[in-house]
């Protein structure tokens, strides 16, 4: 969910609309915002499942420290989505361990 009008910040300034893909589904976000923010606005909570216990993880610190929000971005795993800005046509996938597929050894 996005804030439409804020009592202090007014209308939140956004970059131009961009299309991206989340697990193959086309979605819309704004240029200049982090991948994590764009996904959160769409209600995506789970960014990855851990390799050992297969537990869900999402945004935790949002400033690049905790590395919990990593996902597979354009084929690369372990990308910190809170520090990586959204770009047109980006392909973002849920990360399972360090894989893009839900195959557990």
């Amino acid at each position: 969910m996005r804030i439409k009008e804020h009592p202090i910040l007014g209308t939140i300034k956004k970059g131009k609309k961009v299309k991206y893909y989340y697990n193959g589904t086309e979605m819309e976000g704004y240029k200049g915002e982090s991948i994590a923010a764009a996904l959160h606005a769409e209600g995506v909570m789970v960014h990855r499942y851990t390799s050992k216990l297969h537990k869900p993880r999402g945004v935790f610190c949002a400033i690049g420290r905790c590395t919990d929000c990593v996902m597979i971005v354009d084929g690369k795993p372990n990308i910190r989505t809170c520090m990586t800005l959204l770009k047109e046509g980006m392909y973002i996938e849920t990360q399972y361990g360090i894989s893009g597929k839900e195959v557990w050894q």
Binding site: T50, K52, C66, N78
Partner: protein, 106 residues
């Protein structure tokens, strides 16, 4: 900084706790029980815990769990947290892709 730890001192038996299966190191998914066991196995420094259990060795390099582990060691040993040395700070302090790191210096 850290006071000398007498390794021969008795810290008592490892008693199971109800929250032993709670995750402490989020990256490597190391539990409270595993870390407590490591302490009772004789791992009394942050560095030893890290090498013995991998806690703090994951992607974030102990950004979140170091402080918690420090408190845990102190509690098990019955000393103040400030008497436990931190993990060695090392370059790189931020995650860097090996591809970038290996490129050489600009």
């Amino acid at each position: 900084m850290a006071e000398y730890l007498d390794r021969s001192s008795d810290i008592g038996k490892l008693v199971a706790m109800p929250d032993d299966d709670m995750i402490i190191c989020r990256c490597e998914e190391i539990t409270k029980g595993e870390i407590r066991k490591a302490i009772h196995d004789g791992m009394w420094t942050m560095t030893e815990i890290k090498r013995y259990t991998r806690a703090g060795m994951g992607l974030c390099q102990g950004q979140t769990c170091s402080r918690i582990i420090k408190g845990m060691i102190a509690k098990e040993l019955g000393v103040l947290p400030l008497s436990i040395d931190d993990n060695t700070a090392r370059v790189p302090v931020r995650p860097v892709e090996v591809r970038v790191y290996g490129k050489g210096i600009n």
